[in-house]
């Protein structure tokens, strides 16, 4: 029998090497991080990806422009609708058509509902990662109500696939407006609870303040987007910069924070939830009557060229880059997923922190592994 020897545990430099994941409770799936530790302090982090790589880009090269959208629900599965919308918008850009106003409004409302539900799940998981189990269940109470709206209108809870190039797949359900208003009331009532149980808690503040600092320059250089970048003071909200769907019709603020630490990222998302509620409130009573879908040809063919569309998912900027050679399926399709770039900044944020900090950082970047691996 081989006995325990020091070399199994430490590098010649005296660093303790451990593999966090791919099966680890706080890596949110199958992320694998290799850590070089000095005691509890993290000296170096190296992400290893690909455990859930399904090659959606290659698959889409063989699917028609109507069909490839469904697969994107499986990328960022917490914001499936927004992924679908991004693809539909890109194809519409290529075809030179626009969705009717009704479809645009409904798309925006459902996008914001998706953002709310995604942020709620993130809130619960952040609590869970930091050791507080109970917030997770409170978050799921509201999320469940949103999921029911999705189920009633789109037909599925998570992988909606409600978008088609040119509009919506079917019209909204007659109960849609009533239910959305009910959910908004519920959510607004329970925001206080979120603050009481987690935001103000001294342990939570200590765990997140001045932890995982990301400077503005690093955020831009690493291509970090979404709430993670906005917490570092980078203005990058695609909804403001390049409005799509009905975002040019509504008043909302881009939430910016200059803290750059986990607490700032947390607060940005908490405020974003309130902004989402206000966006939905502005739109829900004004959904225009009319068609929900623009008539398109049976077989869609994009003209030769390149089309790029970006949307703001709960995690950041999702870019869909379609290269068409004029055939009925994309010649090359590239998803610029927000999680992939956000993850690349993890080593900078985690350096010098403790293992517990690494968990807090991963929670506040809001990683979704299938979104990173695609």
């Amino acid at each position: 029998m081989r006995s325990l020897i020091a070399e199994d545990y430490v590098t010649p430099e005296g660093e303790f090497v451990i593999n966090m994941g791919p099966q680890h409770p706080s890596t949110h799936g199958v992320l694998h991080l290799k850590l070089w530790l000095n005691g509890e302090t993290v000296n170096k982090v190296e992400p290893h990806l690909g455990y859930i790589h399904r090659s959606i880009e290659k698959m889409s090269e063989n699917l028609s422009y109507r069909n490839f959208i469904f697969a994107t629900s499986r990328m960022d599965y917490l914001a499936a609708h927004i992924n679908n919308e991004a693809c539909a918008l890109t194809v519409e850009k290529g075809l030179g058509i626009e969705a009717p106003p009704r479809a645009k409004y409904v798309r925006t409302i459902i996008s914001e509902l998706t953002r709310l539900s995604s942020h709620q799940l993130w809130w619960g998981c952040t609590g869970l990662d930091l050791g507080a189990v109970t917030p997770f269940f409170y978050a799921f109470r509201e999320r469940e109500a949103i999921m029911e709206i999705m189920e009633e209108t789109c037909g599925a809870r998570l992988t909606q696939n409600y978008m088609v190039p040119g509009g919506l797949m079917v019209d909204i359900h007659p109960n849609f407006q009533k239910r959305v208003k009910e959910v908004l009331t519920l959510i607004k009532k329970n925001f206080n609870e979120y603050d009481e149980i987690l935001t103000g808690n001294v342990i939570f503040e200590n765990r997140t303040k001045e932890v995982g600092y990301l400077s503005k320059e690093d955020a831009i250089s690493y291509g970090v987007t979404g709430p993670t970048a906005r917490a570092s003071g980078v203005s990058c909200d695609i909804r403001k910069w390049f409005p799509y769907s009905a975002y040019d019709q509504v008043q909302f603020n881009e939430i910016l924070d200059t803290g750059g630490d986990c607490y700032a990222r947390y607060m940005v998302r908490m405020h974003e939830m309130r902004e989402s509620v206000s966006i939905i409130e502005q739109l829900i009573d004004n959904i225009p009557e009319g068609d929900y879908q623009t008539k398109t040809k049976a077989v869609l063919k994009l003209p030769k060229g390149e089309f790029y569309q970006r949307v703001e998912t709960p995690r950041g900027e999702l870019g869909v880059y379609i290269v068409s050679d004029g055939a009925a399926s994309p010649y090359r399709i590239k998803y610029r997923s927000p999680g992939f770039s956000n993850l690349s900044a993890l080593p900078v944020m985690a350096k010098g922190g403790k293992i517990g900090d690494l968990v807090a950082i991963m929670a506040t970047i809001d990683l979704v592994i299938p979104d990173i691996d695609r």
């Binding site: 029998m1 081989r2 006995s3 325990l4 545990y9 303790f16 090497v17 451990i18 680890h24 409770p25 706080s26 509890e40 609590g127 869970l128 990662d129 930091l130 050791g131 507080a132 189990v133 109970t134 997770f136 269940f137 409170y138 109470r141 149980i197 987690l198 808690n201 342990i203 939570f204 200590n206 765990r207 403790k354 293992i355 517990g356 900090d357 968990v359």
Partner: protein
């Protein structure tokens, strides 16, 4: 001292002793037999208690998390924990390759045995105590610190880096929180003038220390509850396990019955610290009396002392569970700074205050 008349279990104990003495004439043999009986009944009691605590924890957690909790196995889910035990018994007890097999198997035993040993000087009811040792407080605080050896052993022997980290954390944690626990215990020793737990209980016959000792005792009670939560490795101080960071810490590699041992010791520890807190701060088995209300006090006396003791203990257990299901976990350095920067200085000043109070006779 005016000792209230209470229902007591001591009569039962005496009856058994007399009956056994009639059967066995050899004194040595009699003592051994009685010890074996005591041991078995204690273990049986503790296992049943752990079943109940496990069920209670699940239900408390579930209600706080707006869900139902176990309600399938047995009436209201009470047999769920039995089902879990059966599952753990049937599981294969894995021993990882390249681990130190002797220490790996020894560690759960050490952890469980030490936590059971601490039970000895606790008075469950009036005059009902396994061992009325005259240095009870000292015994409790010294024996309970042996458990850290078991945890370090488990972490090191597992040949797992997560386990090792967890064990190291646990070592630092228990060693430092021992100080605050000790100081809080000492504050009562100063007031009651005795190290024996039964004497401490009797010293509260005219009022519990938490009421008699003004604010300093309330502070030391709070510090005791917080520090002992840390000492028994429960959330929010469960650094040694830390699911989300260390995937289970020192017990990552344990499965089946060996894991169940750790679970058992966790619940016994929970019971023990709550029982000690109840004994020294809340009057142990002493009923609740209000000066002047004679008829009220008389009614209180009719409640058996065992229930008083258990009621107080479970009150503290509930509070510790409440902590666990509300708070996030501290980080390892914050855990130590909480102890060294806040709890320890406060308890030191507090001890001085209490000493002055005891000398001047300012307490009731």
């Amino acid at each position: 001292m005016n000792i209230p008349l209470l229902y007591s279990l001591s009569g039962l104990a005496r009856t058994i002793h007399i009956w056994l003495a009639g059967l066995i004439s050899n004194e040595m043999l009699l003592l051994t037999t009685e010890m074996v009986i005591m041991g078995i009944s204690l273990i049986a009691f503790l296992v049943l208690l752990c079943f109940f605590l496990g069920y209670m924890e699940r239900r408390v957690a579930a209600f706080m998390e707006i869900r139902l909790g176990p309600n399938r196995v047995g009436p209201k889910g009470t047999l769920q924990i039995v089902a879990d035990t059966v599952k753990l018994l049937l599981k294969e007890g894995l021993t990882p390759d390249l681990s130190d097999k002797f220490l790996f198997n020894l560690a759960p035993l050490i952890v469980v045995i030490t936590s059971m040993l601490v039970i000895a000087p606790i008075a469950f009811a009036k005059d009902f105590q396994l061992w009325d040792i005259n240095i009870g407080v000292l015994y409790v605080s010294s024996v309970s610190s042996i458990a850290v050896i078991g945890i370090l052993m488990a972490g090191w022997a597992s040949n797992n880096k997560y386990s090792l980290l967890g064990a190291m954390r646990s070592g630092a944690q228990i060693v430092s929180y021992e100080l605050s626990v000790g100081l809080s215990l000492i504050s009562i020793v100063i007031l009651s003038g005795s190290l024996s737990l039964s004497d401490i209980v009797y010293s509260q016959s005219n009022g519990w220390w938490i009421f008699k000792g003004h604010i300093p005792i309330i502070i030391s009670f709070v510090i005791f509850v917080v520090a002992s939560t840390a000492e028994i490795n429960r959330a929010p101080f469960d650094m040694a396990e830390a699911d989300q960071e260390l995937t289970g810490g020192f017990n990552t590699e344990y499965a089946g019955m060996k894991f169940a041992m750790f679970l058992l010791s966790e619940y016994i520890n929970l019971f023990v610290v709550s029982a000690i807190a109840a004994t020294i701060f809340l009057g142990g088995w002493m009923p609740f009396h209000i000066g002047g209300w004679e008829s009220f006090n008389h009614i209180m006396d009719y409640i058996p002392s065992f229930f008083w003791f258990m009621g107080k203990t479970f009150f503290i257990i509930f509070i510790i569970m409440w902590f666990r299901w509300t708070f996030p976990r501290l980080r390892v350095d914050q855990l130590l700074s909480l102890e060294w920067k806040y709890l320890l200085p406060i308890s030191m000043v507090n001890t001085i205050l209490i000493t002055v109070m005891a000398i001047m006779g300012w307490h009731f």
